[in-house]
């Protein structure tokens, strides 16, 4: 399935439904069909759509793309090494163009934790129970498109009380040699009292063609489960990303989500949403975005407090250079029954050039009366005085800026509980600042 010219036109009007998919699995075909009709109903957003006001998606879909995923991309050991995180001791799941490659992966075995292709889990009752059911996905056209036409992805299931001795690192590799629209789909289910650490990172190994990734990750945390979920977005310039991550938290569960958007994808749109359906939960959403050139980074988050006694804490920080554009929309909904809710949100930005831009808006919808909620937004520039102070002690301009950006990012990176990942991020920040100065 290839669009001749504008992909926007093609998926608005010409794209065939899921019944055309030869590899469509019968078990979820009805759900796919439903999603497809929902997609047709919703239509693609324009800048008149409130949720997409600051992100003109048409601009990024005007090129031609192939909708089919390449069956096999070839990935060399060297390329894989480039995508890895130095000194990280972890299991590894390598996905090439959205498909799990067992030969490149090192998966946990023999325990209560399953990591498999989503297509291999089609008969699993968990998939039947959760696939495309998250309430927040229902109004997202790109999530509907993904549900209707996705090719494959990961299924991760952790049994009751299951835990892993080290994190699971998911490496997404994109190899398309012609423009491709790739739709991975993942489902992560943690049963009662299970804990897991997941790191996702991405690498593009072909910058001659444009890769558009429209991914959906559904997360289910059963009672007292805990998930540390680190998402590192660090692909090549010629890539565009829409990531929908939707979590459901049952009672006493803890979800720690980190989003690191690093150079240099042209477009990154993250829709991160959490539905709190059981009480006494904890939700920590941390985001750091470093954008340069003409990068556009849009974070939409939604924390849905449906029941009493839940705690959510959100901190997003951005450092923007050159002509980079940032968008942050943080929605917090507190249901009328959700008394004793604690919901905090903060978005801080550091603009390092005259032309960089940020649009930030908190959306607080509070219908309960016994709650503690706050939000805040700041935008600032580098403190020249701080920079001078560091330089006057012999620290070069570049190292001084790097120190200051690291310091700005500190309350995010400090929450990362994996030292190798902390070091990796510090190094990325250093490279980012060095690149900024050399430009």
């Amino acid at each position: 399935m290839t669009s001749d010219k504008s992909f926007y036109e093609f998926i608005s009007n010409g794209v065939p439904g899921p019944e055309q998919k030869v590899d469509a699995d019968n078990a979820i075909l009805p759900a796919r069909k439903l999603a497809f009709s929902r997609f047709k109903e919703l239509g693609l957003p324009t800048i008149k759509t409130e949720e997409w006001r600051y992100t003109n998606i048409q601009r990024y879909l005007k090129d031609a793309f192939t909708l089919a995923q390449e069956e096999q991309g070839t990935v060399t050991a060297e390329q894989l090494k480039a995508a890895s995180i130095p000194h990280l001791d972890s299991y590894r799941a390598v996905l090439v163009n959205g498909r799990l490659q067992a030969d490149l992966s090192v998966l946990p075995s023999g325990g209560k934790i399953t990591v498999s292709k989503l297509s291999d889990a089609a008969g699993n009752p968990q998939l039947q129970a959760w696939f495309d059911k998250h309430p927040h996905l229902q109004s997202q056209p790109f999530a509907a498109l993904n549900a209707a036409l996705f090719a494959d992805g990961l299924f991760i299931e952790a049994g009751t009380n299951a835990t892993l001795d080290k994190p699971l690192h998911i490496i997404h590799v994109y190899t398309a040699s012609t423009n491709a629209f790739i739709q991975p789909r993942h489902l992560v289910v943690l049963h009662k009292s299970a804990t897991l650490e997941v790191i996702e990172s991405a690498v593009g190994i072909n910058d001659n063609a444009i890769t558009f990734v429209n991914a959906v990750t559904e997360v289910v945390l059963e009672e007292n489960a805990e998930l540390w979920h680190y998402n590192i977005q660090n692909t090549v310039k010629n890539s565009r990303h829409i990531h929908n991550t939707s979590a459901t938290q049952k009672a006493d569960s803890r979800y720690h989500h980190f989003n690191f958007t690093l150079p240099s994808a042209e477009l990154t749109r993250n829709n991160l949403s959490v539905a709190l359906t059981g009480s006494n939960t904890e939700t920590n959403l941390h985001g750091l975005y470093l954008a340069t050139g003409t990068q556009h980074v849009d974070n939409h988050t939604f924390v849905d407090h449906l029941v009493p006694n839940c705690n959510s804490n959100e901190l997003y920080k951005g450092v923007l250079l050159d002509d980079a554009n940032g968008v942050f929309t943080g929605r917090i909904h507190v249901n009328v029954d959700a008394q004793k809710t604690n919901a905090f949100q903060q978005n801080n930005n550091l603009l390092m050039s005259e032309k960089a831009n940020i649009n930030s808006q908190p959306q607080l919808e509070i219908f309960a009366d016994d709650v503690k909620c706050s939000h805040g937004f700041t935008v600032g520039r580098f403190s020249d005085e701080a920079l001078f102070y560091l330089r006057s002690r012999g620290i070069g301009a570049e190292a001084a800026k790097s120190l200051l950006v690291n310091a700005f990012a500190f309350d995010i990176t400090d929450q990362v509980h994996i030292p190798a990942l902390q070091d990796f991020l510090a190094e990325k920040i250093r490279q980012y600042v060095a690149g900024a100065i050399n430009n």
Binding site: R391, S392, R393, G394, G396, A397, A407, A409
Partner: protein
């Protein structure tokens, strides 16, 4: 060590320094005094390389090199240190990490390898004692939430760690109570040596009771209008600055 010749500088188009001449040799302690707005802190800013100052005339030679051609970090690496009047708070940068970075950048500049952690910690302990600097502050963010006295002690502690050839103390005494002043002054006195020089900028004579200068210069209206020894400071304390201002104006009208 430092030769300032006919130094003129402006900030935001306003002339602040109007022809400073000063010679500082190894081992000397110079005090710069003067009323508010006379250009004392501007002089230290120009020497340290603060970017909003523009030098319009004159030159500054430091250890045979043109200081004004150097970036602020290179001035520091060449051995110039300024203790700030208002030390900056930098949340997220730990004191220890900051000092280690500074020390190693200076070492790299001189072709030396980075200092081993063990050696660095030993040096840190030794210098902390010099200014009675609380070890608990080492792992805290740089100056964040420090009291006025702790910030000033931290400046002198950094001075001790980085071991410069010439140290400028910009109103290090301001805002200090007498006990803190004594500690800071004692620290500075211990750092005095035959191959180091100091320039102490102060508004009050009080500091000079503890740090005894070899020379006292009075800055007024962007120029050094009088130079003397420590007795000059006492005279200023007693009579204030007005008599000097009058003397200058009389000279001008003649």
């Amino acid at each position: 060590m430092l030769t300032i010749k006919n130094l003129h500088a402006e900030v935001d188009g306003k002339q602040i320094l109007k022809g400073i001449n000063l010679e500082i040799r190894k081992g000397e302690m110079h005090a710069i005094m003067g009323p508010n707005g006379s250009g004392k802190s501007s002089l230290s800013s120009v020497l340290a390389g603060r970017e909003n100052y523009t030098v319009t005339q004159g030159e500054v030679i430091f250890e045979g090199k043109n200081l004004l051609d150097m970036s602020p970090e290179d001035r520091a690496r060449e051995g110039l240190f300024m203790a700030f009047q208002y030390p900056v708070e930098i949340p997220g940068v730990s004191n220890l990490h900051f000092l280690k970075t500074a020390l190693n950048e200076i070492r790299t500049y001189h072709g030396l390898p980075a200092m081993e952690s063990k050696e660095f910690l030993k040096l840190t302990k030794e210098k902390q004692q010099l200014v009675d600097f609380n070890a608990n502050l080492m792992n805290r963010s740089l100056n964040e939430g420090f009291s006025g006295g702790e910030k000033k002690r931290n400046e002198v502690f950094q001075l001790a760690m980085l071991d410069p050839k010439l140290a400028i103390l910009d109103e290090t005494d301001s805002g200090l109570d007498i006990d803190a002043l004594r500690i800071v002054a004692a620290g500075v006195n211990k750092l005095r040596s035959a191959d180091k020089a100091f320039m102490v900028i102060t508004h009050y004579q009080r500091l000079l009771e503890y740090i005894v200068p070899d020379f006292v210069h009075v800055l007024y209206n962007g120029q050094i209008v009088k130079t003397g020894t420590k007795e000059l400071a006492l005279e200023l304390e007693e009579k204030g600055y007005d008599w000097l201002k009058e003397e200058v104006h009389q000279k001008e009208s003649v």
